[in-house]
Symmetry: C2
Subunit: 120 residues, 2 copies
DNA sequence: TAAACAGATGAATAAGTGTTCATATGTTTA
DNA sequence: TAAACATATGAACACTTATTCATCTGTTTA
């Protein structure tokens, strides 16, 4: 049985490496915004919606059909994507057309796909 | 009160747009792997760990210190990062050093940061 | 070899998230 | 203006996920 705390002691810390790394860490606000953005992309339904929208704009009803999910579910997810400024929308008659509001999304998808494909 | 189902009728579907978009959607396996990758990046603790590791390798104890969390929590998160092939590790004496196993991570971070900064 | 230590891991709990159902909003058209 | 329609939204529920605690594994060193 251990006689001391199980927490890391100071003797295991590599001070120089640690100092360098510490400089590289963004402030908490940035970290939160960054992880929130990835969180939004980290859902299959939303990835599917975005994949569809990368080609051209679509209305909620189209999206509902294309991803095989109820209108409400799609609408809820579009709300999340809207909040992250990833998609924008315009009204045309009764329909509301959604489209990608940011070319970064395309780039993120491409790089992520590269990562996936490199693994055996 | 409506006399019919509330589900989208076929008349609201934009057939041509839909057909084009459908081609652009990857198969389900790819969609799952893609969203899983983003899901791994969609957590502040893991983003913090990766930010630190982008500079140089660090042991679990260093990471625990740098992100201000217990050793167990860090270890659990490293497990997730390992599973996604995002980090690798090597043993050196009693310490285990973790480092980034994929330059795509750096690119993903940079693009995501661009997206964030463009918004007012 | 026994103690000390770095790290991993299972179980438990608390917090977060996605889908569905029911209903509300706002536009169009008869 | 009333019905029909496209979309939005609140509440509820099931499911997932992150952290903590306790314990275990494996390496080093005295």
């Amino acid at each position: 049985m251990p006689t001391k705390e199980l927490l890391c002691e100071e003797n295991c810390i590599h001070t120089e490496l640690l100092a360098k790394s510490k400089q590289n860490i963004p402030d908490d606000d940035t970290l939160i915004t960054l992880s929130d953005l990835f969180k939004v992309l980290g859902d299959m339904t939303r990835v599917k919606i975005l994949s569809a929208l990368l080609k051209n704009e679509l209305c909620v009803c189209d999206l509902s059909e294309i991803i095989g999910m109820g209108q409400s579910a799609v609408s809820h997810q579009l709300r999340v994507l809207r909040a992250s400024k990833i998609v924008k929308f315009r009204r045309d008659g009764k329909s509301i057309f959604y489209s990608i509001d940011d070319d970064h999304v395309r780039q993120l998808f491409e790089i992520a796909l590269s990562h996936i494909r490199e693994e055996s």
